[in-house]
Subunit: 506 residues, 2 copies
Amino acid sequence: MTVTSATPALDELRARLADINALTMARDVLSWDQSTHMPSSGARDRGRHMSVLNRLSHELFVSERTGELLAQADEETAGLPGDHIDSQLLAVVGRDYRRYTKVPPAFLERVSLHTSRTFHEWQQARPADDFARLRPLLEQTVELSREFSSYYTGIAHPADPLIDLADEGFTVATLRPLFARLRAGLVPLVEAVVDRDDSIPSPFQQFFAPDAQLEVGLELAQRFGYDLSRGRLDLAAHPFATSFGVDDVRITTRVDPHDLTQSLFSTLHETGHALYELGVDPRLSGTSLAQGASSGVHESQSRLWENLVGRSRAYWEWAGPFLAQRFPDQLGGVSVDAMYRAVNRVKRSLIRTDADELTYNLHVIVRFELALELLEGSLAVVDLPDAWRDRYQSYLGVAPTDDRDGVLQDIHWFAGMIGGSFQGYTIGNVLSVQIFEAAERALGPLDARFAAGDFGDLERWLRTELYRYGRRLEPLDLVERVTGSAMTVEPYLAYLRRKYGELHGA
Amino acid sequence: MTVTSATPALDELRARLADINALTMARDVLSWDQSTHMPSSGARDRGRHMSVLNRLSHELFVSERTGELLAQADEETAGLPGDHIDSQLLAVVGRDYRRYTKVPPAFLERVSLHTSRTFHEWQQARPADDFARLRPLLEQTVELSREFSSYYTGIAHPADPLIDLADEGFTVATLRPLFARLRAGLVPLVEAVVDRDDSIPSPFQQFFAPDAQLEVGLELAQRFGYDLSRGRLDLAAHPFATSFGVDDVRITTRVDPHDLTQSLFSTLHETGHALYELGVDPRLSGTSLAQGASSGVHESQSRLWENLVGRSRAYWEWAGPFLAQRFPDQLGGVSVDAMYRAVNRVKRSLIRTDADELTYNLHVIVRFELALELLEGSLAVVDLPDAWRDRYQSYLGVAPTDDRDGVLQDIHWFAGMIGGSFQGYTIGNVLSVQIFEAAERALGPLDARFAAGDFGDLERWLRTELYRYGRRLEPLDLVERVTGSAMTVEPYLAYLRRKYGELHGA
């Protein structure tokens, strides 16, 4: 007996998406291995293997057959309600298909070659503090980013299609005023509390054995709900979380033997990303919907667990004694208050990834603004290093003396196009507070639970209200649904003013 | 300026092979990860991802376009000598293409489904000692193996195409008399020396800390020439070596805290496989020629390093003091002779993978003979467990009381077709001595070098004479070229008689 499917096109489309998913997951396993365990000489072949997997999955996705199947599957499912999982699958895959087929393959090939070359040069030029060497390449990157945007019609700003790739629905027009209000609130707040505790030595800046740091980090992650039958922790130079399916989501961290906070907060941050991916509805498994909704929404979860939980007074009521028990020699006599203050110091700094909770967004806003100006043509690449210094001086009160810790600092502009790679960090910070407050509206105040080491209610609420949807809902709709409002910076600023005001009596 | 290639078809074929290679390497990374680091719940998705990669690479290889390119590339390179690397590439790829396109894709799909199901059942049935549950599946496996052979014409025995897949050029007609002579030589030799040292406790059966075992194993591997910038060692339940390109060849081992020899010889064995893969000419990189020539030739190198070197008296002159220094508490007062005798005990045993050097091939020959009889129809699956017991009793003087340690012992018959999966182990043992003797003919006696911990001359000779060829030469031609003769069991038997005669005055 042959069973005839009522939705043959949808079935074939799903099978095709599962093949694409397998290629993508394989590439991600190769990438994880490259960052964690691969012997050094494996790099050359590995780059080639990953680029083949990328190309094959891209070709499979943008082929005409995918377009035909999408059209037929739309007809097959015309009677379904809009919030049916199949309708949402077709909506998301359709949007992706239209987005990726707008741009000619030959252009993408040029971007790929240019990106490889630029990344390779950056790896040499950054340690050598040699911006001049990268200048012509960066000029081409700006040109390519503009050309990318030119394939999209009806856009208001050349950065919009680039932003949309990572943070669908957001535009320069919506982000610029939000970020301006945020900056206006942050600059005086930073000024009021910066460097306050500088004279007190941090209890975390002592020797902590690397193995013990990893072990303790993993215990803290598990306390948040991270399940080692579905994940693991490894060392990596630049920590990340990565998903190989809804039942295998791994995190990495870095360890500084003389600063416990490096591994501690990297681990909590990546655990937040991982809890999101682990919480996705298993029915989305094997499709492009089995991942976070967007860059910014993903970052909201890493930041929520890292900062709203992990840097809260209530958390330290529990984590302080826990760490003192694990590290009695270093932390035995240290008060919870001293630990809490130590993990919430505000410092003027040059390096984004080392920045504290309060100054972090100013690092992002500098990059966001400069990228827009490059794309608009109001800033020339040759003037970028000085513009970077000026902007840092003006927003953060400090400026790099070289380009290594200035414009060459981050990989982003040297490993892809320019204009869509930084906004997600600040969107995430802003959303983290809106989402956390929504959780407390639903669950009541969480402080007492955190102080008892109980994070289960929060994790379950986030899973139910946010994580399980994966990419079923568009980011803006998801935010509206979870928080009851659009994205807005005021709750975030109020949270920061409250927290740092209490800390420093400001 | 456009550069026009003189060999456009060969270039396109090479690009296609590189894509297939990337898919294969990716699958192997996924498989390595599954056996070493993957969290337990990752298994389901992982199986799907690997099967997609298998299918896509197979489809790419057997497509008509590959056949067209092969034909055109043959014309393009018609003027090249037969030992040119391009001619050899086309010869090997052409053979593989004809071999894989002989069998209908629908049949392979059936085998794949049957294999998955059988493997799944075996995982339950072996611990439960439940042969009855597997009997109907195994009967189908025999049928499928026969059907596989039926797609090949002009073959003398149904096992021949199966043997040829793993050990090209070998047939039942050539192997049966060789194995019969080997068995005739081994059975009385085993009888003469078995269980001789049973009353002396082995110095290696004490507690050795697992981490220290791994560390020491890695030092021994490096001493053989294994380079950690191009490899690494991990734990796995069933040790293996795997290559992700000529610059990333990894080994795994298992550790028994109460028996140092488990990790020691697993590590040396896999190091032999790895040295072979690491020695392949980098010009073969990204093609299907960048691997060992055959199953048997590969095994000859794991066995050469494990047994001809690692179980030799000369090796223990060096390794004994080295290990005594690393494990002073356990091995401090133990003589080199006691260690050498302990790693060369001959015992009647039921488990192939635990067998000593002398009895090992009898385990293999039992399986080889029974598989041929199943395919010939002279043995029915229902009678297999008893036939197993009879054969063990007759060749090894011991027989299992259950099927768990009998016919259900190895994964091979329950994870693929029957008839081509065991001969390589014994071919490898036999060849290891022929190749080792060729090395000593070229380099002079190696004992003094081994006793000084110097293995560089041997590794270089093997690399130059054997490893670098990868699959450029057919196994039989390669053996002839390296050893100066065809495969023959007499040198191997003479080596065993000499070694075990000296050990036991037999």
